[in-house]
Symmetry: C2
Subunit: 525 residues, 2 copies
C-alpha cells in the first residue's frame, strides 16, 4: 500500500530551537522535497509573518512539479464569517492548491484556550473547510490534541472529526500535539476514528516520549495512510517525527508499504544532509539510517566480523539509504581497525608498528584528540610513527594579533594580522597577511609562504572549522579541540585535528596537517 | 510491576562515536548510577583493556551500595575448558558479583563468524555459565542477534536460550544487536521466549530504526522484566536504548510499571546532564524528557496558551523529571514571548517598545545571533533598546597576540598576551595579561582593569565557551557565533552571545555582555 508523505519542515520544523530558515532557504528545501517526490509540502503559515506569505508568491510564480503545496492556517475566528477573516484571506492569497486547517478536538481546549461553546468550535471547523472547498481548494484537516481529546471526551472529539470530514476535508489527520501518547493508544484511536469517518486518516506525531516513529508506524499499521513529519525531526521541544526514519522504515523495513512511489530511499542521506546544510546546522552523527555513525563500526570484534559478513551486523545495506560503511579508530577497537586504516595507506602488516600506532592513538585520545572526523591527521600520524613522513616545511615562528578600537563602527571591525616564518629546504620564507580572523590570517600567510614552491595549494580551500572545549569545567583555560575540513578541487574532502589549551595553536596544528596532507597527495600524484 | 534497569553506559555506551571515558570518569558514573538506584551497573569488559580491569579493582576496594556490579565477557573459546580461558580468568579477577556473558543465538553467526559446530556453541554457552555459577557468581545471559537468530532458525535459537537458562543464568536477555527489529516482532518473540524458558526475560535494543524505546516498551508489555540500555542513548552506530526515556516512560507514562523502586524520576534530568558533563559531551537540547528544549515553548500561539493552561501543552509536568519550562525568543514567537521575557525584566507593557525589540531580534537573528542560550545578552539588548542600559565601562582599545616558535616543546606552548584599555567614569585603565589562549588572556586583562572598582567580579567565572561557524561554506572567512556561559558564586549561570567574522571580536562581545550582566546584577542587589 502507498503511504502519503506530508512534509512540514518549513512550518512545524521551523519551530525547532536553533532552526531558522531564510526565504531562499525555504524555496531551496521545497524544491528539493519536490524532486525527491514527497506527496505534500507545507510551505508555511502565511498569516504569521511576511516571509511565509512571500514564499507562497515565489512558488506560485514557478510551481512545484510533483508535490502538492500546502498553506497552513487555523479555523476562522469566533463569530466571524470565513470570507471576512484575515487568516482565510492570507490562505487564499497564498494560491496554494491545498489548505491545511488546524482545529480543536478537545473539549477542554475549546473551553479553556479557545473560550467558545462546543457548537461554535464545530461550526468554526465545518464553515472554514466548506469555505475553502467552495473556493476550489483541497483541504487537509489537522486535529490538534486529537488523542488527548478522544481520551477526555470521545463523543465530542469524534463529532469534530466527522464535522471536518462532512464539510469536505480530504484527509483527517490525528495530531499528538504534546507528544505524550503511547503506541498502543495511537493504534486504538486510529482504528476508532477510521471507522467513524469516511475519509482517509493521517497521523502527526511529536517525539516527547521518544516514540514519534513508533507512533507513526503504529498508526499506519492501524490503517492511517498519510504521515506528517519533518526532515531530520526538526520541530518544537523534542521535534516532530523524522520523515527520514518514517520513510526508511515504511519503504525498507516493514512489509506491504510503499513511499515516494516505491523508490528513492537511496536519496534519504543526501536529503537529510542537504536540509542540515541549508539550515546551517550540524549533522547528528548517530541519526538513524543517515547519520555518519549509522553504519560505522568501532569495536574490534565487530569490525573483524563486519569485514567477513557485513550484512549480519547491518540491518540494511547502507547504500539502500545512500549512506556508507565506515571503520573507526578508537581505543576500544583493537588492532583490526588500525589495520584497516593502515592498509588503506598501503603500509605493510607490521605487528610492531601497529602496536606503536595503537599506543600513540590511546595517548592522544587521552589528551583530547579524536581521529574519527580527522582521517587526514590520522594518516599523517601513521606516517610519522612509521618514519615515512617528510614534512614539506618547518615552522620557525608565527605571530598573530588582533586589535579593536572602541567606537569603530561594526562594519570596519577589528584588524587581524598574521606573520608566518617557515624554513623550506633550508630557505626562509617570512610572510604577512591580514584576515577576517586569526585562522583566516594564518591561512593567508601560510599560503603566501608556500605558493611559490607548491602552486597546487591554490586548489584546496577550508570549508568548515569547528571548535570544542574539551574540559568545559575549566572554560577559557581548558583545552580546545579544533577540527578543520578542507575540500580539494577534485571534490575530495579531509578532516584534520589540533588540540591545545590555546585555540590559535590548536587551529595552527590542524591547518598544518591539512596543508601537509594536500602536499603529500600531490607528491603521490 | 517492578522493571529492572540494567545500565551499560560504561561498556556498550563507550562504543559510541565521540564517547571516551577515563578511569576516573567511569568510577564517577558508576557511583552516580548507584546513588540513583539503577539495579545493575555494567562496568566494562575487563579482558578488552587494562582500564576496564583497573576499574573493577577500584570498585572492589569500595563496593557499590545499591546497584549490582556486572562484568562483561564472551563465552569461553572453542575447544577449551572455562577455567583455562583468559577471558574467564579476567572476569573472575574483576570480583564483580554478576557476570554478563554474551553468546551466539543465530546459527548463521555460529557457522560464519564463530566457525564452530552448532553443538559446540551450545556447549560454550552452557559450560561458561555453569562455571561462573559454580564459582558463586550470578550470571546474566545476553543473547546476541537474538531476534535475527529466531527468524532464521527458531528451534536452534530457542535451544541456545534454554541451554543458558538450564545452566543457571538468572536472566535471559534478548539482544537486537543490529537494531533492525520492529516492535511487533519484538512483542511476538518475547512472548515466545518467555514461554520457552523458565527464567525472567530481558531486552537490549539499539536505535538503528529509531525504535529502541518502542522496542523496549513492547518487550515489557510482552512480559520482559529487565531492560538494558545506556544513559542518553550512548552507543555504537545510532546508540542503545536511552535509559532516561525508558525510565520516564515506564515510571511516568505507562500504567502498571515501576522503576528504581518507584521513585527518583525527578533526578533524570540531573543524571542525564551529569553523564554528558563527565563524558565532556554537549547536551542534546531536544532530548526527550530531559533536554533543555523538552519543555520550551517558541510559537507565539502556544506560549500564550501555555501560560494559561500549561498542562494541556505539556504531556507531563517538567518537574516530574527534574526539568523546567522555558519560554524562547524567536522570529516566529510573536509578541507574547518577548513580553514574557520583558516582564521578567520588570519593563512596562509598552507596545511600541515591544515592536522595536521584536524588529531588532529579527535583524540580529538574520546576522546569526541566537538568544535562546543567551538570555543575559537578550536582557541587555532589551535594556539598550529601552534606553535603560548604562554601560559600566567603555572600550578604548584591546590588542591580543599569540606567538609560537617552531621547535619549542609542546609543554611550553605558544605565548598569548592581551592588553585592554578601558574608559571608566572618564578615567583610563590600561592593563595587560597573559593567558592560555586569546579569550583567557582578554578575560584576565579585563578583570585586572575592572577589579579595583568592581570587586564582585571575582565571584563569577566562565564555565563554558562554544564556537560555531555560521555560514560554513565560507569557512575561516565566515561569521562565527560565540556563546559564553558564566557561573556566579550564588549558583546562577547565564549565557551571552557574540557574532562576528572575527572569532576574537565575537568572543570579546560575549565576554563584555557577561561582565555587564554581572555588574547590572550587583547594581540591583
Amino acid at each position: 500500500m502507498q503511504i502519503e508523505i506530508y512534509d512540514t519542515t518549513l512550518r512545524d520544523g521551523a519551530q525547532g530551537e536553533g532552526v531558522n530558515f531564510s526565504l531562499d532557504d525555504k524555496v531551496l528545501i521545497a524544491r528539493r522535497l519536490d524532486e525527491v517526490g514527497v506527496d505534500f509540502v507545507e510551505g508555511g503559515y502565511p498569516l504569521s509573518n511576511p516571509k511565509d506569505a512571500e514564499f507562497f508568491q515565489r512558488i506560485a510564480a514557478d510551481p512545484l512539479k510533483h508535490s502538492k503545496l500546502c498553506a497552513f492556517g487555523m479555523t476562522r475566528r469566533r463569530g466571524m464569517k470565513p470570507a471576512d477573516d484575515p487568516g482565510m484571506k492570507s490562505l487564499m492569497d497564498s494560491q496554494a492548491p491545498v489548505v491545511t486547517i488546524v482545529g480543536k478536538t478537545s473539549d477542554f481546549h475549546v473551553a479553556e484556550v479557545l473560550r467558545v461553546s462546543e457548537q461554535e468550535n464545530i461550526d468554526m471547523i465545518a464553515e472554514t473547510i466548506a469555505y475553502f472547498v467552495g473556493e476550489g481548494r483541497e483541504v487537509i484537516y489537522d486535529a490538534e490534541h486529537c488523542f488527548d481529546g478522544l481520551k477526555i471526551n470521545e463523543a465530542y472529539a469524534l463529532q469534530t472529526l466527522t464535522a471536518a470530514a462532512d464539510a469536505g476535508a480530504m484527509r483527517i489527520v490525528m495530531c499528538d500535539t504534546n507528544g505524550g501518547t503511547m503506541p498502543e493508544e495511537v493504534a486504538h484511536y486510529v482504528k476508532l476514528v477510521q471507522e467513524a469517518v469516511d475519509k482517509p486518516v493521517g497521523i502527526h506525531t511529536h517525539n516527547d516520549c521518544e516514540l514519534a516513529i513508533a507512533n507513526s508506524l503504529a498508526a499506519v499499521d492501524a490503517g492511517a495512510t498519510h504521515v506528517q513529519g519533518t526532515i531530520n525531526g526538526f520541530g518544537e521541544r523534542c521535534g516532530n517525527a523524522d520523515l527520514i526514519s518514517v520513510m526508511a522504515n515504511l519503504g525498507l523495513k516493514k512489509k506491504g508499504y510503499q513511499v515516494l512511489g516505491g523508490k528513492q530511499t537511496e536519496h534519504l542521506t543526501e536529503l537529510s544532509r542537504y536540509v542540515y546544510e541549508i539550515a546551517n546546522m550540524g549533522y547528528r552523527i548517530n541519526q538513524p539510517f543517515v547519520g555518519a555513525s549509522a553504519f560505522a563500526h568501532k569495536g574490534g570484534m565487530h569490525v573483524h566480523a563486519v569485514n567477513r559478513v557485513a550484512h549480519s551486523y547491518e540491518h540494511i545495506p547502507p547504500e539502500s539509504v545512500g549512506n556508507e560503511r565506515r571503520v573507526l579508530v578508537s581505543e576500544l577497537s583493537g588492532r583490526s581497525n588500525i589495520l584497516a586504516m593502515a592498509t588503506k595507506l598501503n603500509l605493510q602488516e607490521d605487528k610492531e608498528l601497529m602496536d606503536r600506532i595503537l599506543h600513540e592513538v590511546v595517548e592522544l585520545e587521552n589528551q583530547g584528540y579524536q581521529f574519527e572526523a580527522a582521517e587526514a591527521s590520522f594518516a599523517l600520524l601513521v606516517q610519522r610513527i612509521a618514519g615515512t613522513f617528510a614534512p614539506h616545511f618547518e615552522l620557525v615562528k608565527y605571530h598573530v594579533s588582533t586589535e579593536s578600537r572602541g567606537g569603530v563602527s561594526l562594519n570596519e571591525g577589528p584588524v587581524t594580522e598574521a606573520t608566518v616564518k617557515l624554513s623550506i629546504d633550508d630557505e626562509i620564507e617570512h610572510r604577512v597577511a591580514e584576515g577576517d580572523g586569526p585562522i583566516n590570517a594564518l591561512d593567508g600567510a601560510l599560503r603566501k609562504a608556500l605558493k611559490g614552491r607548491f602552486p597546487a595549494l591554490a586548489q584546496m580551500q577550508l570549508v568548515d572549522y569547528k571548535v570544542r572545549v574539551i574540559n568545559s569545567e575549566a572554560a577559557t583555560a581548558a583545552s580546545v579541540r579544533v577540527i578543520i575540513e578542507t575540500r580539494d578541487s577534485d571534490g575530495e574532502t579531509w578532516g584534520t585535528v589540533g588540540v591545545n589549551e590555546n585555540v590559535i595553536q590548536a587551529s595552527w596544528d590542524a591547518l598544518v596537517d591539512s596543508f601537509e596532507y594536500k602536499l603529500a597527495k600531490e607528491g603521490r600524484a
